[in-house]
Symmetry: C2
Subunit: 344 residues, 2 copies
C-alpha cells in the first residue's frame, strides 16, 4: 500500500480511503490512486484491515459433507451471494464424530469470521450453547433452533401436502418410509412424519403404526426388508411416501424387481426433488436448496451489519408437490395393475 501511495504521490491514508470508496477524495486524486493500484496489481490485505476494523470479512460455513445434492446446491447459491457482498466463504467440513468433537472443542472459527452458518446438523444443547458464546451471529440452516436465527423449509407442511396429494388420488392405505441415517445428522425426519400424520388425521383416517416403517440408509437390503413388512400386512398399502427421494428410488427398485408395478400397483412419492427424482420420473415434494442457501446468506449479511437485528428470526421457505409418473389414482391404478400385472 505504501508503494501505491508513493507512486500516486499521496499518503497511505488517501490510498486507503480511495480503495474503500470512502467519503471525500477529490476525483483527480482518486483517479491517480486507482491507476497506481491497478498498475501495481495491488490487492488489500484483509488480514491487516481486519486487525484494525475488527471485521474479518469472512463468513464461516459448517457442513457435515458436501457430497450431497442439497449441500452442493445450497453452497453453489451461497457462494456467489457472499462474493457479491465482498465476503469470503470459509468452509469447515466435519464429516465424523471425532472431527465434530474437535471442532466444537476448539471452535476454529472464533475470531476468524463475522458469522457462522451451520448446515443440517442435529446439535446437542451443549453444542448450541457452545456456539452461543462464539461472539458472532450463528445461523442455523435447514433446521430450526428455538431462539436462534434459522432458515429451513416447512417440512411439516410439505409432508402434509404430499400426503394430501396421495389422498386426493384416492389412496387410503398410505405408508411412510423413514430413512435412518448413520451419523447423528438430522434430515428433518420427524417433521415429515408429523406432516404425514396430520394429513391422515385431517382426512379422518386412523394412524396405523404398521404403515410407518424405517430403513437404514443407504442400504438396499434394508429397504427390501422395510417394504417386505408393508407387503405382508393383512391390508397392504397402495401408496408409499418416502422421507426422501433416494429412499423412494430404492423402494421403486425393490418394487420393480419384485414385479410390483409402480405406479400401477403402488404409488411412490418422494421428498426433496433430488436430481434422481427426474431420472426415475418420481413424483415428489420439491424444496429449493439454492433458495435456502441464498436466504441464509442474506440473513447472515443482515445480522453482520445490524447487530441489533432480531436474533431469533426464523425464515421458513415453502415446498410444493411435483406430480410425475410414480403416483396414480387408486382406482385406475388397480385396474391397470390387474391388466398388466407383472410387467414393469
Amino acid at each position: 500500500m505504501a508503494d501505491v501511495a508513493e507512486r500516486a504521490g499521496v499518503s497511505t491514508s488517501t490510498v486507503s480511503r480511495t480503495l474503500r470508496g470512502l467519503s471525500t477524495v477529490s476525483p483527480e486524486v482518486r483517479a491517480r490512486v486507482e491507476r497506481a493500484a491497478r498498475e501495481l496489481d495491488f490487492a488489500i490485505s484483509r488480514q491487516a484491515a481486519s486487525l484494525v476494523t475488527g471485521k474479518t470479512g469472512t463468513v464461516a460455513v459448517l457442513v457435515c459433507t458436501l457430497n450431497s445434492w442439497f449441500m452442493g446446491s445450497a453452497l453453489s447459491a451461497l457462494g456467489p451471494m457472499l462474493r457479491a457482498a465482498d465476503l469470503e466463504l470459509n468452509l469447515y467440513v466435519v464429516p465424523d464424530l471425532d472431527e465434530r468433537a474437535s471442532f466444537f472443542k476448539r471452535l476454529p472459527a472464533r475470531r476468524n469470521a463475522d458469522a457462522l452458518l451451520v448446515f443440517s446438523f442435529d446439535l446437542t444443547d451443549e453444542e448450541t450453547a457452545r456456539l452461543d458464546d462464539l461472539g458472532m451471529p450463528v445461523i442455523y440452516v435447514s433446521q430450526h433452533v428455538d431462539g436462534r436465527p434459522s432458515v429451513y423449509v416447512d417440512d411439516v407442511a410439505g409432508a402434509l401436502n404430499g400426503t394430501r396429494h396421495l389422498l386426493n388420488l384416492g389412496h387410503r392405505r398410505i405408508a411412510f418410509l423413514q430413512a435412518v441415517g448413520s451419523s447423528g445428522f438430522s434430515f428433518s425426519s420427524s417433521e415429515r412424519l408429523l406432516g404425514y400424520q396430520q394429513a391422515l388425521t385431517e382426512a379422518g383416517l386412523p394412524l396405523d403404526e404398521d404403515l410407518v416403517v424405517a430403513t437404514p440408509f443407504p442400504d438396499k437390503h434394508g429397504t427390501a426388508k422395510a417394504l417386505g413388512k408393508l407387503l405382508s400386512l393383512r391390508e397392504p398399502p397402495t401408496a408409499v411416501f418416502a422421507e426422501h427421494d433416494e429412499a423412494a428410488v430404492a423402494a421403486i427398485r425393490v418394487l420393480r424387481a419384485a414385479q410390483i408395478g409402480v405406479p400401477e400397483q403402488m404409488s411412490v412419492l418422494g421428498f426433496d426433488d433430488h436430481p434422481v427424482a427426474d431420472l426415475f420420473d418420481l413424483s415428489t415434494v420439491a424444496q429449493s436448496p439454492s433458495d435456502i442457501g441464498r436466504e441464509a446468506g442474506e440473513l447472515a449479511l443482515r445480522l453482520i451489519n445490524d447487530p441489533d437485528a432480531d436474533h431469533a428470526r426464523h425464515i421458513v421457505l415453502p415446498s410444493h408437490v411435483i406430480p410425475r409418473a410414480t403416483t396414480a389414482p387408486l382406482f385406475q391404478a388397480q385396474n391397470r395393475g390387474q391388466e398388466q400385472a407383472g410387467s414393469p
Copy 2:
C-alpha cells in the same frame, strides 16, 4: 492474548511461544499458560498472526460449481485434510462467465491465501498467466497445465481400458458419445475420446467418424438425436461408450424407451462411477474424486512448506473398469436380443 498472559503471570511472548508449541518453554509455565488459555476460551487471531508471519494459514479453492458429485466428493476429502494441517479452506464459487471475468480481474485470493487450488476449469492462456503472478503456489486439479503442478486421473488410459473392455466382449462397432457442456468448463472430453481411439487403433479397427456423436448436456432430446444418428447407420454400433455416466444414463433411458434392450442389443459403458451408475447398474470406468481431493491437498501442503519443491510436478491417478449390468458379450447379446427383442 494479553489477558491470557496476565492471568498466567507471563509475557505475551511466552503465551505466543506456548500456543505455537514452540521451542523451549518450561513445562511448568506451559501448563499455566495452557490452563489460562482454556479458561478464557482464547483462540488466536489468524489475521494478526498472518500480518507478521506473512502466512495466512488459508488455502483458496476455486470451483465452478459444487452442484456435482465430483466436486462434492473431492471437497469432502479435501476439507478434513486441510483441517488436519490446521489450514482454513476458502471457497470461491464462480458459476458463470461474468463472475469468472471478475474473479480473474480482481483475484480476490491475492494476499489472502497461501495456495490456490483450481478445480476443473478449462483455462485460457491469459487466465493461467494471470494466476502465475498471484504470488502463491497454484495447483490445477482435474486438469493438466504444462509446467504447473497438476493433479488428475489419466483419462486417456481410462478410456483406453474402457474401450478394451468392450472389445474384449467382442464388440467391433463401438460408438463414442460426447457430452458437450454449456459453459467453458472442461470435463476432459478430448482425452477420453483419444483413449477410445487408441484402443480401436490398437485392435486394428478403423476410426469411423460416424461412430463419434456429440450431445449437448444435459438435454434428453439431444441424446435421442445423437443416438438416432447411430441407430440409422448402415452398420449401427453394438456398444456405446459415453463420455460420462450421466450421458450414459440418458442414453440408456432413450434406448429403453425405444425398446432397445440394454445390454441385450446395445452395451452401454459410462465413465466416472457417479452414484447414478450404481442406481442404473451401469458398467463404467471409475475414478476417485476423493483421492484427487486428498492428493491435491497434500501437494498444496508440500508447495506451501517447501517453496523449492518441484513446481511442475504432475500427479496422475489411476482409474479402473467396473463391469456391471449394461455391458455384455456381443455374441450372447445378439442371441438374447433376438429371443427377447422388445422387452426391457
